[in-house]
């Protein structure tokens, strides 16, 4: 959000939907490091998707990207005169796995920055890293660990894992962002951590609820589309005569 925009935000006829780190918040070293990390992880993801993914993942990549872009536009109010919106990294990881998931997230942030000036172009590396890569990788592996410990093939395992992992991914993204702002000399670290973690504690609950609803819907209707489908209800190529419930 530019200064001018934030000044007039209250008077605009349409919702003000700036979401991500703008240009100017981060210094050169932080900008470069986050770019390098993002590009490296995206390069690995490109190779992994090429090597391991199948044709069926392609439409799901498109749908997942479209849904996360749309959902990110919808800021939900949280107590204290603030709003939050879905980040979607963990959701992308659960549906597509961390590799295709991170590519989908990168596409979303690139479209937002290039077309809609949402998130700075220089800060794109940081935004992709914080919200895309942490969400997809950390979120996905945490989800997988929790889900397998409770029960890989049980709804409860999937639900608790989705909820906890998506909430955690938002908190971790906010904490990383706080560190980046502090290293850039924008705000003292203690202040940044308290403020970012405080608000995102609540925003993460919204993230967890949305993620849970979407994953539950896919689990009930097309569990075979999940990156880690439940084994007991795997859908084979034969059409099922009766629904499992």
């Amino acid at each position: 959000m530019t200064q001018a925009v934030s000044f007039v935000a209250g008077f605009l006829p349409y919702p003000q939907l700036a979401l991500h780190v703008p240009d100017g918040f981060l210094n050169l070293p932080v900008t470069l490091i986050t770019w390098v990390l993002s590009i490296a992880l995206i390069a690995v993801s490109l190779n992994k998707v090429q090597a391991e993914y199948k044709e069926r993942a392609v439409p799901l990549m498109g749908v997942c990207a479209a849904f996360i872009f749309a959902a990110q536009m919808i800021n939900f109010p949280i107590p204290g005169g603030t709003s939050g919106h879905l980040l979607g990294g963990t959701l992308a990881g659960i549906l597509l796995g961390p590799w295709a998931g991170s590519l989908v997230m990168a596409v979303v942030f690139i479209v937002q920055a290039v077309l809609f000036q949402d998130g700075g172009l220089t800060a794109l590396g940081a935004n992709i890293f914080n919200m895309g890569l942490i969400g997809t990788f950390a979120g996905y592996y945490l989800y997988k660990a929790i889900r397998s410990s409770i029960g890989m093939n049980r709804w409860r395992g999937m639900a608790i894992a989705s909820f906890v992992a998506s909430w955690t991914s938002v908190m971790v993204a906010a904490i990383f962002c706080a560190f980046q702002l502090a290293f850039s000399g924008t705000i003292p670290l203690g202040v940044a951590l308290t403020a970012m973690a405080g608000w995102h504690f609540l925003i993460g609950i919204g993230e967890a609820l949305i993620t849970l609803v979407v994953v539950s819907y896919v689990w009930r209707t097309r569990p075979d589309l999940l990156f880690d489908p439940p084994r007991s209800r795997m859908v084979n190529s034969m059409p099922r005569a009766v629904s499992p419930r």
Binding site: P15, Q16, C64, A100
Partner: protein, 117 residues
Amino acid sequence: MRQSSRNRAFTVLGISVALLVAVFLSPFASTQPDGLDRVSQDHGFDTKAAENPPSHQLPFYSIFDEYAVRGVPAAIATPLAGLVGTLATFGIAWSLGKLLVKGDSPTPIDRMPSADE
């Protein structure tokens, strides 16, 4: 193929939900600052945001003022931007997948070709 038509149905449903959200829900989005915005205002570094960021040099800046199409009535500016953005995101992610995924790997002979596509 039953399976491929089910997949197509899911894709159509998914993109429809995304479009409905972007077009019809976006005007109702909260106008309160989001987490980072709020922190930047509370701690006075919102002024650090670049006045004239590089994205303003791009041609898209003359079409979109953030999530609003310029030069159309305010009521449809954001839904229209949501429509364009959702379709663009879908198209790019889908194309990227198409470019990367070479269909089912031809190497293993031990499995039947999948009935997906």
